[in-house]
Amino acid sequence: MSKKIFIDFKRCIACKACEVACEMEHGEARIRVFEFPDLTSVAFNCRHCEKAPCMEVCPVNALSKDDDGAVVLDPLKCIGCLMCGLACPFGIPKIDEYNKIMDKCDLCAHRRAEGKLPACVSACPTEALKYGDINDVLWAREGKIVAELKDIGDRTNVLEAYLIR
């Protein structure tokens, strides 16, 4: 099953702990926090697409999926041609000017190998970032909404219940 980082932008406070944590692990942050004028903020990293365009265009097969479903880059194969960066609809893979190869989020492969959470998820103080089987996360959210609806339905005066909330 594929594991992903789920982003709950309602909880994000733009503190950038995720960026700093990623930078600490990889030298450069592979996650970025975007802030909007209405104070909404959202952290964004590689989505590890099910049908990843980057993997399809890589001429030397430097990109592959690992057991958790993360799209990871083999630095020994990568030739820095930037094709993955061009193909990615989010512009995630970036060129590492120093090593002349691409650099992208690997869901912290080395941390997962040690049984740890990805660094950004570990840090995020608000749990705006959650790591797990994407369907589990989505089911949990669906379940919460349904429970709330049931809660409202249980009250005699539905309209009033809405007003209280």
């Binding site: 960026e19 840090a123 608000t126």
Partner: protein, 687 residues
Amino acid sequence: MAEKLVPVVCPWCSVGCRFYIVNVNGYPKKIEFDYEHDTRNHGKLCPKGVAAFQYLRHPDRLKRPLKRVGERGEGKFVEISWEEAIKEIAQKLKEIKEKYGPEALAFLGSERCSIEENYVLQKLARALGTNNIEYVCRMCQSTAVAGKGMVLGHPGLTNPFEDILKAKVIVLWGYNPAATNPVFFGQYIEKAILDNGAKLIVVDPRKTKTAKYADIHIQPYPGTDLAVALAMLNVIITEELYDKDFVAERTEGFEELAKTVEKYTPEWAEKVSGVPAELIRKAAITFATAGTAALLTNEGVNQHANGTRTVMAITEMMVLCGYFGKEGVMSGAIPGAHNGMGAGLMGIGPHELPGRFPLHAEEHKRRIEEAWGFKIPEKPGITYVEMIDAILEGKLKALYVMGTNPAKALPNLKKAEEAFKNIEFLVVQDIFLTETAKYADIVLPAAAWFEKDGTAISFERRVQRSFKAADAPGEAKPDWEILVMLAKELGFGEYFNYSDADDILREINRIIPPLAGATPERLKKNLKGCMIPCPDENTEVPRLFVQGFLTPNGKAQLIPVEYKEPGEVPDEEYPFWLTNYRLVGHFHTGTMSHRSKSLSKRWPEEYIEINENDAKRLGIKDGDLVRVETRRAALVFKAKVTPHIREGVVAAPWHWDFNYLTKDVLDEYAKMPELKTAACRISKVEG
């Protein structure tokens, strides 16, 4: 490569987050999250916590004692040996004491050093015969300590963090935890709001990341919070929303308070604070009818020359509604630094004994004198900001500064700089050459927080141990070790017989009753620590005021409060309200955070927020350079034009040069300077 994980307490804010430093042969490689232990942060950290190892090996770290060769403030020094440095300091302190008396000496402790180190420092000051011993609480929490002290008998956070999850209403007043305590915000406050449906009331002139979640956002002019609080008291009393049984049984002074606030109607408050009367009324009703409420205040309330009054009025709102002693309620203020509460409890105060007993609490004084073997000086010392005047008047000749940076933290910095230029003898021990250290005669290199064992007390009243996780660079030494060396040279060796931090903590256990049970053994075994008061090794106190308040008669004192303006208000010449705030990525005067590359990269410079309508009127566009002038000084900032600050108010983060602009007028109870409100004028820098 021997890699070791050493458990530490975060060195920045006062949430008390725990994590590990990954130590490779004494070198701090990075941090690692602690998801194994039962911690208050549940493994989580904010960006400062994550970056906390970066400043440790910064090339600017002080590695050897320095002696000034250039002018004061110039920053020219030569390296000297420890022996030379300590000898010279001891000699100079003795000389000044003999010539001018012990009151010509003063000491500054630090909320960033351990309780052990602060304890040793105040003991040394007293051994030298002076109570001139202060720390930055004066400019951070002193009004909260005084105000809550008078009303409740104790300034501490009343309940453990979890209790806020059950609050029906949360009021965050002059407090932006999403930026200043992100882990407390994310793990507790935000969950209460988003998961448990708590209502949020925010009082702040800016629309902060915290205010984004508010149901009611009150935006007073900076420092007029007192008007809003008095009007809320007025509504709670006139509309009879208070808890009558609670008021009758557990409080004193209700009639007098009711009479006093009669005139402070929401309509009156609207004129003073600019907050619509109806919004104040709505907030008061929401707060008073909630059933359970948490009310947390911070610097937006504290750092004003009317701060103590505001704290009293806000605290009395909690009292009237009977929101004490249960789950789901919380009252408190939040010290800025990781050991803000701990340093104070050590007696780092000109009118206080260890344990925060008043200087003249005879019974405690005698008890401590007996244990120490020498007399505690009779005469109370002078407070932080007053020390500057004392230096300029020639009364204070020597200042000994441990781990703090007054040359950037004090109000009206030009005047403070004048004082540091003219002092006879200045010693600074720190981890970097701070702005203050540049004026020093002798600079001593200290070990950083992760380079020693030490104890800190978080804002939850939680005592926790942090362990040595890295070797100090060069010849840097833990602050307590430096102080012990100096004490021996001064001839006080017999009173300072410590060989490690544990020795000092054991003495603290004996001297300070609320800490009797926070023994080294207990804190090492249990990383989560214990909540003070902990009178013995099996006891802690999660909730305050369950039985009674800590005032002499056990009743909350509803002291009548009259309105008073903040230290400076706008007029025709200086028409804007100027205030400041903190950024999530920086800490205080930036000694450590400006030197953390992941932080300074993301939060690189200062700027000033100005409302879009004001900007339009003045022809200022986003990114323009603007000159901001107060009666003390003028600074140039980049303008950030935004709708998220109320019209008529401008605000800048304070981690850079802000304090050149502030005024050194003091709160009459706590001697807090007016750090958060000034009157200014603004003009675009042309060209």
